[in-house]
């Protein structure tokens, strides 16, 4: 690979979060500061026969406007909820750049698969698909695009990246490149995933699901919980905001479909490439929001990669104890948690991490800590050995 060109930092001018911690950004940010987890039992509408600890949306999801009814799914409702908070910033960006100069780049892993679960079961029972179900508008990974583009009233390039659990970290890289390329001036980027049986039972099949709330980086960690939610933000060529996207490092393990390279080789490569892209050295980074899923293997490999590159004292926060693993929405959610930390001058408590695994050679936060962060990395790793490190800096 050639040495990548240095791209200009991109201001993150507005953001929005909804997940198990809260229905609004204010609620989510408040819970993150207070160290309050949103994990709980799986809601009955997901249709799971047994019980599971998950990060479910904590309130009823408002429906879509009638003109978008064909696209009405749990996933698009979550996306619309997060988008609603960005109306003001989008109006301003549209006036400044023009609606066709704003892209929509989303990450999702589930798309509307939950609707297909119900449709398939209905077909099994009745011999026909339910009214209102269509694979194009209900199931497809890109079915969130018409909803988000219409509600945001933007008309630039629109696509979905779906690389399992790194999906919505990848979109930050894509947005920075498209702004550099000159085809857009701003991008609405982020991720959205919704709870469904397929992911919960799929991870159960892989024997990495924890029945109790997950405990990333803890000595006693026993697996992951699945979560849902949306994280959206506005990236603009120029502007004022709480943080800046400095660079994104991407790599592949080229090792195994589901197991990370045991020494975290691919994870280290992604973090190194992020630093390289921004022209920074490890000493410039003040904390890392770990991928930290809560499986024994993943946290050990990531911890080894962080300690190897940054030294044993690096401050690490793992936030999946708040939200569960939001899969396709996890990357953007944790990039925005990093933005919240930079703006608030703190590093959140890693819920569930105490007592920290003594065999992992990094410093995991077990309380909220005051810290003025100049630059921080948010890691996301996925099936297929897909690794993304998003480097975010103070404004």
């Amino acid at each position: 690979m050639l040495a990548a060109e240095r791209m200009r930092p991109v201001p993150i001018t507005a953001y929005s979060l909804c997940n198990a911690m809260g229905m609004t950004t204010v609620e989510v940010v408040e819970a993150l500061g207070a160290g309050r987890s949103g994990l709980g039992p799986c809601p009955p509408e997901i249709g799971l026969a047994g019980s599971a600890t998950v990060g479910a949306m904590p309130g009823p999801l408002p429906g879509l406007p009638a003109r978008l009814a064909a696209y009405d799914t749990r996933l698009t409702r979550i996306a619309a909820l997060a988008l609603d908070e960005l109306r003001g910033p989008l109006d301003r960006a549209r006036a400044r750049w023009g609606r066709d100069r704003i892209a929509v780049l989303l990450g999702t892993s589930t798309g509307g698969i939950g609707e297909s679960e119900r449709a398939h079961a209905y077909h099994h029972a009745h011999g026909a698909l339910p009214a209102g179900y269509s694979v194009e508008t209900s199931h497809a990974l890109d079915a969130s695009l018409p909803v988000v583009c219409a509600l945001a009233d933007v008309g630039g390039p629109a696509y979905v990246l779906s690389t399992a659990c790194s999906s919505s970290a990848k979109v930050f890289a894509a947005a920075q490149r498209l702004i550099h390329l000159g085809v857009i001036d701003a991008a609405l980027v982020g991720g959205v995933d919704s709870l469904c049986q397929l992911t919960i039972r799929g991870f159960a099949g892989l024997e990495v699901l924890s029945a109790a709330p997950c405990r990333p980086y803890c000595r006693d960690r026993a697996g992951i919980n699945i979560g849902e939610g949306a994280a959206l933000c506005l990236l603009e060529r120029e502007g004022e905001g709480p943080a800046r996207l400095l660079a994104v490092g991407e790599s592949s393990d080229a090792y195994h479909m589901t197991s990370p390279h045991p020494e975290g080789l691919g994870a280290r490569l992604a973090m190194e490439r992020a630093l390289q892209g921004a022209g920074l050295v490890p000493g410039d980074v003040d904390h890392i929001n770990a991928h930290g899923t809560g499986t024994r293997q993943n946290d050990s490999a990531e911890g080894a990669a962080i300690a190897g590159l940054f030294g044993p004292g690096m401050t690490v926060v793992a936030t999946k104890g708040y939200t569960g693993h939001q899969l396709g929405a996890a990357g953007a959610t944790e990039v925005l948690f990093t933005v919240v930390a930079i703006a608030g001058g703190f590093v959140p408590m890693s819920v569930g991490a105490a007592p920290v695994d003594p065999e992992i050679n990094v410093r995991v936060t077990t309380t909220r800590e005051a810290l003025r962060t100049r630059a921080a990395i948010s890691n996301s790793f996925a099936f297929g050995g897909s690794n993304v490190s998003v480097l975010v800096g103070a404004p």
Partner: protein
Amino acid sequence: MTDAGGIALVLRGVGLWTPGFADAAAWSSRHVSGDMPTPAAPAAETPRAELLPPMLRRRTSLLTRMAAEVAAQAIAAAGLDRAHVTVIYGSVYGEIRTTIDLLEALLDPAGPLSPTKFHNSVHNTAAGYVSIAAQNRGGNAAITAGRATLAMGLLECAGLVAAGQGPALFVIAEESLPEPLAAGRTYGPLAAAFALDAPGSGGMSLRTCRLRQGDLRTAAPPAPVPAGLAGNPCAAALGLVAAALRPQGSVVRLTPQLQPHEDRGWLLELDAMPDPRGPA
């Protein structure tokens, strides 16, 4: 890099597989302008996909095998190093056949889900397997944008090229959609690949081209495709492969004109191939 004329790129090589057409040359030679391409041989069931190890080849989906096959074709045609090219994979429904198997298994509320099928259902399944087989530690991604997947995949590659990350390969692949979710939509599988690079990057090159938005009516009408492939949401890639191998320049539609009043879409403007005898 980009102006009113569009994003300047070099197309270095292409790949194609669809039943009855084992590679891009087979497709192109049976695709005389304006005529319907016809298979030269009975439809092959599955591509060779020699990039994947034999054990794996038997276990993966047709989608992943098609993607591996056309990626290898375009890598060879463009003279690229498979361990160092960034690959973007486009598909609308991705690993839909594996997904349907999982939906079937979910009908049993207590039944186990196959862990292999589960991790083989993600949109980046081919990306994972090909990166492992090629020992490629670069980034990759899997993209979808519905009927605009071809255009958006090429745009994503243009972004990579502009970022100085070297050549980028766009692989687009679509299996047929299984029932019951298909609800009567029937189309055959196809895959194509396009190796893009920066102008003046050296190396093997088919021709220069420009990716741009414009009036779809200025493009050549969509190339005819066999009836069994017309409904495939990635069928536009077939026309692009045919145009890419014709010596004459042309403007190719990347996005369909869904409504008569919606004239604006994405185009790829292909310059004429350089004359092999050099300038007159």
